[in-house]
Chain length 295, copies 2
Amino acid sequence: MKLSMLGEDALVAALTRGLPAGRDVRVGAGDDCAVIGGRRDVWWRLLKTDAVVEGVHFLPTEKPARVGWKALCRAISDIAAMGGIPEHALVTIAICAEWDERWVRGLYEGLRRAARKFGVSIVGGETSRSPGTAFVSVALAGRVERVRCLTRSGGKPGDFLYVTGQLGGSRAAKHLDFTPRLAEARWLAENFRPHAMMDISDGLAADLPRLAAASRCGFELWEGKVPCTPGCATAAALGDGEDFELLFAAPPRIARSLDREWPLRFRKLPLTRIGVLTRRGGGKPISTRGHDHFA
Amino acid sequence: MKLSMLGEDALVAALTRGLPAGRDVRVGAGDDCAVIGGRRDVWWRLLKTDAVVEGVHFLPTEKPARVGWKALCRAISDIAAMGGIPEHALVTIAICAEWDERWVRGLYEGLRRAARKFGVSIVGGETSRSPGTAFVSVALAGRVERVRCLTRSGGKPGDFLYVTGQLGGSRAAKHLDFTPRLAEARWLAENFRPHAMMDISDGLAADLPRLAAASRCGFELWEGKVPCTPGCATAAALGDGEDFELLFAAPPRIARSLDREWPLRFRKLPLTRIGVLTRRGGGKPISTRGHDHFA
């Protein structure tokens, strides 16, 4: 079957079934990051790779520094979504030999800028020729305290669902300049320990069902409450993707103090309750579909 | 300047100058792996990424399982070259949506086979659409005891240079089925601690000068001694690349016992002395050029 027919989630499910995994693998394929460590270790290690592809995630006419920024910040956003601290990045580039070196230098300028801003060391990488399409893949290692590690799978029926920021319109505007919610995610992990968290990369309509499924819950999304980027309709906020905002599930007992403390700590970034987790099979479907990489 | 004019080594040197790096980065860009850890830690962490690109490292007509094997084994070879133990891999794929899912399943079959054989856990990855060229990138994390970590930079004038196996002809034949020299490299690290080691991926003519330069040495290569794959001339053995054999520098005091013990431990894989490290500026140039990814 063609990949475009099968769809991304079905493909990933088929590929990741029964992968070889050692006893130190706490979370394998299927969450924002892999989590490695002993059951009683204080710190667990986080591993993530992510790629940006010419013609899919950026155009060859974009400023290369913005492409570099995006390539690293996508992976930082995934480490943040686990409540973690990003540490060491490796960069793999495949690019046409006829491209100008200035493009690669520009790319590294963006990578360096993001690395400095978020405390990441760039420790290596690989360059290769590509006969056509240009690719930039970033591998990022980080760490998180065992007791603060936030996965997609810890949500419980009755948890409120929250998103940071505003959703939609990213592909047309900010997707190359977004700020990963690292400070916000660490603050949540340190102070509130949500039950489950992830970042929104394929749109709320694709990602919320993933969080709910990983938590063996259903969900009820209050579509009218979803915070939309000015100029965006709700369908765009649900389906556009590349928002890189946080989506998390927090139990009612912490929701009240969270609602009070968030605006004191993060004045400029809204936090919005957008629904609840329900029992499995409960809730109702979303009106829009999210982004599928192969559709 | 076009990348094809600049060349790979000059590009990498320009890009990696002054990268942001934390205090725990023992070895950054420029060696086979990045090395992370405290100065007195017992274990150091190794990080590596490596990519295979359609039309450069494999053809779309190849069996995908062989491509998957190669993609993971390339990175295992780099961990081995540091004297290390590979542990956790992440796989990033970008592929045309019109390709058949069976290709990706086949790719994963090869990845799983290599992972099982060499004790690696596949802990995640990412799939993305590519508008053209297919691309498979592997990130691999591993570990090595601090006292056994072998870099490119520890060679000293007077060290003998050794290679495992036979060189040349790989691109035409075995490059998709090679065996990374993991057992051999660990045995060397545990029993003989060579001064410097790397794997040969771009051909001895490109890689030996890199090891010598990292060690601030010159070198004398005995071209007549270079072990050639049957049917290969010396020029091919020096220049073809994709050998994934080990190249290392060992002081004369251990060379005699190494020469005696190697064939007892590894009956089927030859080990050959091919030259010496000299003072910087000493030695003589190689008659052939190695592989440059952008040439």
